[in-house]
């Protein structure tokens, strides 16, 4: 039986109506073909390459173009984007609000990126805040947070959270991801602040659908920081029990809300942390090392297998 025959059978059994049958048959046969995701994708890629191109142009030609031309161009671009967004936006609602049109989310995102570029350029050329330049990051992240909540924009929220991370001293570019002591403490502080902020807004019932973004940022920063602590101090530190608690909480949360991406995080991060400690204890004892890597994966598989029975394949 194929999908068309099944739908016909369900219609004959009066399980679906004629309108549904027609729509579902049209969709499955490709007679109705939505290109919504494709159009959104190319819009987004277009915005990203536009931002990259603008950044490169300014970087390479700022002496030829002149400060006034660059600042006025960037300012007018982000102002136009913000004005457009404020004109088009529907009334504020604490719940999820659909975008007025397909380009809306990306225009705001474009505005935020150009705002950042403008601020960076002004500070680079005129050193208005000098040594206190990093306060721009805090101000920008506050603005982005406001815009994300006002316009219900996940992209701008991601930007806001990565800007807060930058204020804490982190870059997501990866080429200098060294975890010295101060980095570790800042990462833990960052993840706690982000998860508390996200949790508070979730509790207040404000844009509850944003919570996953907060949690994803917080989880990775926290677990990587704790693992780096475990790698340095092994079992005799606060990092090991903290990592175990974080992973247990994450696994519990994953099962509670049935979002299994957190279970994946909990298992992977937890296993790495525990393995570092155990391997340190059985250092140079080949028999125990092999036994550990034979027995523990089997235990994880058995445990997850037990959990997986509670879930359907689509969850």
């Amino acid at each position: 039986m194929n999908i068309q025959k099944l739908l016909q059978k369900m219609f004959a059994e009066k399980k679906i109506d004629a309108k549904q049958l027609r729509i579902l048959l049209d969709i499955s046969a490709g007679r109705i073909f939505s290109v919504h995701r494709e159009l959104r994708f190319f819009l987004y890629i277009g915005i990203l390459t536009l931002i990259a191109g603008a950044g490169l142009t300014i970087k390479q030609y700022f002496t030829n173009l002149g400060d006034i031309a660059i600042i006025s161009a960037l300012t007018s671009c982000f102002s136009a984007a913000f004005i457009y967004s404020f004109i088009k936006v529907a009334a504020y609602n604490k719940q999820e609000v659909p975008s007025p049109d397909m380009a809306f989310d990306y225009i705001l995102f474009f505005g935020c990126a150009f705002f950042s570029m403008d601020i960076v350029y002004i500070e680079t050329q005129f050193h208005l805040l000098g040594n206190l330049w990093d306060n721009y990051l805090l101000a920008s992240s506050a603005l982005f947070l406001f815009l994300a909540y006002r316009f219900d924009n996940r992209l701008v929220l991601s930007m806001a959270l990565s800007t807060i991370a930058a204020w804490f001293g982190f870059t997501l570019s990866g080429h200098r991801f060294a975890f010295e002591q101060y980095y570790r403490e800042y990462a833990i502080a960052y993840s706690l602040i982000v998860s508390l902020l996200g949790g508070l807004l979730y509790r207040l019932d404000i844009k509850k659908h944003f919570f996953d973004i907060y949690l994803n940022f917080a989880v990775h920063f926290l677990c990587i920081a704790l693992i780096s602590g475990v790698a340095q101090y092994k079992i005799f530190s606060i990092y090991f029990p903290a990592l175990l608690m974080a992973c247990a909480a994450l696994a519990f949360y994953a099962l509670k809300i049935r979002r299994l991406i957190y279970m994946l995080y909990a298992v992977i991060y937890g296993y790495i942390g525990i393995s570092i400690v155990i391997l340190n204890l059985i250092h140079r004892q080949t028999f125990f090392i092999f036994t550990y890597f034979i027995a523990t994966p089997l235990m994880v598989i058995a445990l997850i297998f037990k959990f997986s029975r509670q879930f359907k394949e689509d969850e």
Partner: protein, 404 residues
């Protein structure tokens, strides 16, 4: 005759359920209707979700590798032939364990049997390679061994595709097969032509096997393979893709990295084909409603536009990406409006409405890309900031940290 461990009806039922889940998510069917579909399409296999599948895969791989390592350690196997023999036997055992997991426990894309099957292919190939290099060392050149290894790898991976239906195994098999022309000591032009010929042949065979009465799941798989083959054909044809690497490497001995060293007729044919392939691909994708083919070719068209200047020898400017971005935005907006203005928001069956909603895992690729966007924007870096622990942080978000 089907070699697949799963019956055609089982695969079709899985495909139907997948479609039904999308309909349910998009509000096209009710919970009751979804239950009715589930009741009538029991594939009688054991599936799991993607996250558990990843966990199972990782930990099965870890366990099986440790088990093999333990065996080698405890038996004190040292010689190359003994290791080769051990790997071959381990590969065979893992393979039969994978088959056993499917036939007895009815696993389907469960991670466990996948890990065992993939490990078996790797072990058999490595074992075979060590064995033949040990047996025939000195008699043949290393290119011969590479060809044999590629052939074994391609065959084993393709067997996995036929037996278990893993699409990625078919693609791995294709990649392994593609390495062979580069081991035949042919001139670079002939290497490219031979590769192109292989891809075109496989592609034509694929199209030829595309029948309208075929099961939907099979059509879906064929579409994925065809899209990948079109990408492979394009990458073979477009000389400038590897030319980007050539810009960084001075060595002009590797002709593939320096497209201008190819004969002019090849160079300009490649230029024309780099436009022709995406154009035909998009047309074919739209006509036959093959989403993946259409999307892949739109991406290839973007690649063609970005390599156009290199072909013509024109100067690249910093604002080129911005122009490309504006072009993509304009195209996207124009198509959206054109579709919207059509009767009932449709034109030739195409609509810009969001009919089928994707799965929500909490965070998506767009969110992640947005988080990385501040890295595109460099930031101020004054000497006084160098000794701070943020030191210049060449990142930053809204107004960050390096220097223009």
């Amino acid at each position: 005759m089907s070699l697949n461990l799963y019956s055609s009806q089982q695969e079709e039922n899985i495909f139907i359920r997948k479609q039904a889940r999308t309909w349910k998510r998009s509000g096209l069917i009710t919970d009751g209707q979804m239950s009715a579909i589930i009741d009538q399409t029991d594939p009688e296999i054991r599936q799991t979700n993607i996250f558990f599948r990843v966990i199972f895969f990782i930990f099965t791989t870890l366990c099986s590798s440790a088990l093999l390592g333990f065996f080698v350690w405890i038996t004190g196997i040292r010689g190359r032939m003994a290791i080769s023999f051990t790997l071959l036997i381990a590969g065979v055992i893992f393979y039969f364990l994978a088959e056993y997991a499917v036939t007895i426990y009815r696993f389907y894309r469960h991670g466990i049997e996948e890990s065992l099957a993939v490990s078996s292919v790797l072990l058999v190939c490595i074992g075979f390679f060590i064995g033949i290099t040990e047996l025939f060392l000195g008699n043949k050149s290393s290119a011969h061994f590479t060809i044999i290894l590629c052939l074994i790898f391609a065959t084993c991976a393709y067997w996995l595709y036929l037996r278990f239906g893993y699409l990625y195994a078919a693609l791995i098999s294709l990649i392994a097969f593609c390495i062979i022309p580069f081991q035949l000591s042919l001139p670079p032009t002939n290497e490219r032509l031979l590769l192109l010929l292989i891809f075109c042949l496989i592609f034509l065979l694929g199209i030829n096997s595309d029948k309208s009465e075929m099961a939907d799941y099979r059509k879906d798989r064929n579409t994925t393979i065809q899209a990948c083959l079109l990408i492979a054909i394009y990458l073979t044809v477009n000389l400038q893709i590897l030319g980007v690497v050539g810009l960084l490497i001075e060595d002009t001995h590797i002709i593939h990295l320096h497209p201008k060293l190819f004969p002019p007729y090849i160079y300009w044919s490649s230029y024309i084909l780099s436009f022709g392939i995406p154009a035909l691909g998009i047309y074919w994708g739209i006509k036959s409603r093959k989403r993946l083919v259409m999307n892949a070719n739109i991406v290839l068209a973007c690649l063609t536009l970005s390599t156009n200047k290199s072909y013509l020898g024109l100067t690249r400017y910093a604002w080129d990406p911005a122009i490309m971005g504006i072009l993509l935005i304009a195209l996207s907006i124009i198509i959206t409006r054109w579709l919207k203005r059509g009767p009932d928001g449709n034109r030739y069956g195409f609509t810009q409405r969001n009919i089928l909603k994707p799965e929500n895992h909490g965070i998506n690729l767009a969110d992640i890309a947005a988080a990385f966007t501040p890295n595109i924007i460099d930031a101020p870096q004054t000497p006084s900031q160098q000794d701070k622990y943020f030191d210049g942080g060449s990142s930053g978000g809204g107004g960050a940290s390096g220097g223009f």
